[in-house]
Amino acid sequence: MSDSTRVAHGTADSLHTGGHEEHPAYLRHHFENVEQQADAAGFAMWLFLLTEVMFFGGMFTAYLIYRNWYYPAFVEASHQLNVVWGTLNTAVLITSSFTMAMGVWCAEVRKQAGLVLCLVLTFILGLAFLGIKTVEYKEKIEKHHVPGFHYSLKSFTNPQSDPEIYKEYHDKPLGVDMARHTEIYFSLYFAMTGMHALHMIIGIAILGFMIFRARAGAYTSGHVTFVENFGLYWHFVDIIWIFLFPLLYLISRHAN
């Protein structure tokens, strides 16, 4: 995701007798042409994203194993999540991916105002996602569903004590042994959504930087690599959520 920085030309020029042919300022000298430079940057970005796939993959694997072992605990623990918030957040994130894709298009066809607008919208939608996530986290904290911090089994050993959830799902009480494993569900929930949120925070910080650069016209003069590769990152974060949402929120929503 390297941004265009000027390369000192002095020594390079003296090596190439005949000087260098006219080329855009953002083309670095170790590349043959703009096309090759963009390909190399895109390839590197994809390699980075694959390491991210492996990183999240470990957590998804842990999730699948524990879900298979302690399914009843996972069902009742996931009933604690609010489907409306989750669906809304999915829609917000998909819309932000759409505005980001439109931003890349604006950069490619050199529409500066459009690019700034798209980046600002993506920025706002990203913040909206984190805002909704905060509301959800707050509810978990209030109900003592944060693993390791005065974790409470009450909602699972005695579902009737949690009338809001009970009236919808009529969960049967779990034995203490199984109820304890809801803590594993919430550990995974916080680890996975927390890592996802961290990626969002990093993305939003970079977006803020990009909005300033875009206003100065940095991305609408033909050099779109930075915007394009940031787009790849943002869409990747979207894909992680596309899998997190059904796995964490929609385990077993039909009334038993």
Partner: protein, 105 residues
């Protein structure tokens, strides 16, 4: 300068906004569909349907939002290799966990 610009245009495919609108719309529809499906009683197929819809959404994002459909063979190969390695690793791990104790209870 115009020559060079045309050359860039011919090699670098610019995806039209119409495609982004269609893909964004289908992603939202699929999100609705997966929520709807989760409230149906499908037994073992509930998680399968949920994951299948998630995979379709991910493929749409990768192919169109991330431009892989219009990218070089190198990019396509990189993405494919990554997914293959990921599926192999996750598949072997799960097979081990789920089959190790077979026949012992």
């Amino acid at each position: 300068m115009t020559d060079q610009h045309e050359m860039e245009e011919s090699q670098h495919h610019v995806v039209s906004p119409m495609i982004y609108i269609i893909i964004g719309g289908s992603l939202l529809v699929l999100t609705g569909l997966t929520v709807f499906a989760s409230f149906l009683e499908l037994g073992i197929f509930n998680p399968i349907v949920a994951l299948a819809i998630a995979c379709v959404k991910a493929v749409l994002v990768v192919l169109f939002f991330m431009h892989v459909k219009y990218s070089s063979k190198l990019t396509k190969l990189t993405v494919f290799c990554g997914l293959f390695t990921f599926i192999a690793l996750i598949g072997m791990t799960l097979m081990d966990y789920f089959s190790r104790a077979w026949g012992r209870w």
